[in-house]
């Protein structure tokens, strides 16, 4: 039994290394190094009145400590609150919508509906946000109607709701498209079987369809929530300076005060929160449900 075989000449693994160089260069230069720099900047001392930190600024935790104040915490929780509300509401609308599209529409109409939602998603965020501000905003055609009902378009509650609506305008199409695949994977005969066994339709859906869609719902929620807390344009335009999301705070630090270290610290916190949410949702919670 002689050992005559030989390794084959070209290993696929080795040949691809040079192909990874362009990506390596791009990611290193345009992402990892800048992010590292941002991280470093967040620890530098900021002298009010200058632009950014000076070259030899000492390292400090001050920028992060500043974020523990009630003022910043307020912004932080407002962002989370509105994002959470918008994400959950988005799912609440998207699920019946996706279900209806999957089960009740003919293939032709479903294709049209899918096309409609894809178009909505592709639509520039500016266009959508402007459209919402135009329609529902303080200067828009609905103003008389709102005033007659007693709602002030300039009131804080209204503006918060409008920001939420702006988020919703992106979340609903995205979640619907995600859930289409999920619902298609649920065998409709399972609900039939449950009804044949005596359960009313609503109970059948609650105990069968919903749990089977948990994974997709979780994925959609995850995407909606991380999108919402990172939102910039929507709160900027619809929030009118009264409702500020964390991203807007970063921009203000940068453009109005030139306090780069603080902006950097807020950015890192935002990034960390986004990462944490992704981790928690995709590993811990989905393990319980799937």
């Amino acid at each position: 039994m002689k050992r005559e075989s030989r390794r084959r000449p070209a290993q696929p693994g080795r040949g691809s290394l040079p192909l990874l160089l362009p990506a390596g260069a791009v990611f290193l230069g345009l992402f990892f190094l800048p992010m590292a720099g941002l991280f470093l900047e967040s620890f530098r001392l900021y002298v009010p009145g200058s632009i950014g930190s000076s070259a030899n600024a000492p390292l400090t935790f001050a920028n992060y400590l500043e974020l523990l104040t009630p003022a910043f915490a307020g912004f932080f929780f407002e962002t989370l609150r509105i994002s959470l509300f918008a994400s959950l509401t988005g799912l609440l609308f998207a699920f019946p919508l996706a279900y209806w599209m999957t089960r009740s529409l003919s293939p032709r109409w479903r294709a049209i509906a899918v096309g409609f939602f894809v178009t909505l998603m592709f639509l520039s965020v500016l266009v959508r946000t402007y459209a919402l501000e135009l329609t529902f905003g303080a200067a828009g055609p609905l103003r008389p109607l709102l005033l007659s009902v007693g709602i002030s378009p300039n009131g804080r509650g209204y503006i918060e709701t409008l920001v939420g609506a702006g988020l919703l305008h992106y979340i609903v199409p995205m979640a619907t498209l995600t859930l289409l695949g999920t619902i298609q994977n649920v065998d409709p005969r399972l609900v039939d079987a449950a009804q044949a066994l005596g359960a009313p339709a609503w109970k059948a859906h609650l105990t069968i369809t919903l749990p089977l869609c948990m994974r997709g719902l979780l994925a959609a929620f995850l995407f909606a929530f991380t999108f919402s807390i990172s939102a910039f344009v929507i709160p900027m335009i619809l929030g009118k300076g009264r409702v500020l999301f964390i991203s807007n705070l970063v921009y203000n630090r940068f453009s109005e005060i030139a306090d780069y270290p603080s902006g950097a610290a807020i950015s890192i916190v935002l990034f960390a929160v986004a990462l944490a949410i992704v981790y928690v949702m995709s590993h811990q919670v989905s393990k319980r449900w799937t």
């Binding site: 990506a23 592709f122 520039s124 995205m174 995600t178 009313p200 335009i237 921009y251």
Partner: protein, 274 residues
């Protein structure tokens, strides 16, 4: 009996929800399109008494917007081209390799998608300033490249995953070397995914606000940045006209996507999932 009432109740509720959300999604769009043709010089209540193209004329004669448009298009074309080259080569390299950290490497390449765009822009601004790169267009280009590359990588990877391994083996056993098999089989079959990745990247670049706003300077700005400044300064209907133009561009992209790739494949490739 209670079950049936609840069933009907829930079904009605679901239909109401569906109707409401579709109205909500459509109404602002319709309002914007209608108002873009409003003949009045101010923002008045609906419906507009007369229609006119004045706002479109104003948009096209506004040097500010046109400059922004020109920069946006140049940036989109350049960044998509570079992203395609980088993204496709990366996806091919990663797909073929079989080393242990492959999944981690893919997550790493897709990580910019997790970072809030403002943070990406801010980090890049600080870094490029430190390097001494002050040219506005170059900085914007850097930003647009890093936000579009994950899309080209992801789309290409998804397309490659859909190619049956036995097709490459069939080519090999028929006499083609690995390289010829790549050109004859793998590349043509991945082509539609690569195109869809390019279209996504184009849309992302044209639409970006947060990264661009951090990297812009007084002379070089994108159309979205121009629109935002205009919105905050003077909320008039020329922006509505701009919106309608952008809607048309979007529709054009969708039509191209549908013709070339088919929308069902786009959904199926999970590009809309995180």
């Amino acid at each position: 009996m209670g079950g049936r009432v609840l069933d009907d109740g829930f079904r009605l509720l679901a239909l109401v929800l569906i109707g409401a959300i579709i109205c909500f999604l459509l109404t602002p769009i319709i309002v914007t399109v209608v108002m873009a043709f409003d003949a009045r010089a101010y923002l008045g209540p609906l419906p507009p008494p007369a229609l006119s193209l004045r706002w479109f004329a104003q948009f096209f004669s506004d040097d500010y917007f046109l400059r922004g448009l020109s920069v946006s298009v140049q940036l989109a074309v350049l960044s998509v081209t570079i992203s395609l080259c980088v993204g496709v080569t990366t996806a091919f390299a990663v797909e073929r390799a079989t080393f242990a950290g492959k999944e981690a490497l893919i997550s790493l390449f897709l990580s910019p998608l997790l970072v809030p765009p403002v943070v990406t822009g801010f980090a890049l601004l600080l870094f490029l300033s430190h390097l001494g790169l002050i040219n506005g267009f170059a900085r914007l280009l850097c930003g647009h490249i890093i936000i579009t590359v994950p899309y080209t990588i992801r789309a290409t990877l998804a397309g490659l995953a859909g190619i049956d391994r036995s097709l490459t083996e069939a080519a090999l056993i028929l006499g083609a070397t690995e390289r010829r098999a790549f050109w004859d089989v793998t590349l043509p079959l991945a082509r539609t995914s690569i195109v869809s990745g390019a279209i996504f990247a184009f849309a992302v670049s044209m639409d970006d606000v947060a990264v661009s706003i951090m990297l812009t300077d007084a002379n070089t700005f994108t159309l979205p940045v121009a629109l935002i400044s205009s919105m905050r300064a003077n909320f008039d209907l020329s922006i509505a006209a701009a919106s309608v133009m952008l809607m048309l561009v979007t529709l054009a992209l969708i039509v191209i996507l549908e013709k070339f790739v088919g929308l069902n494949r786009v959904i199926g490739q999970g590009v809309f999932r995180s």
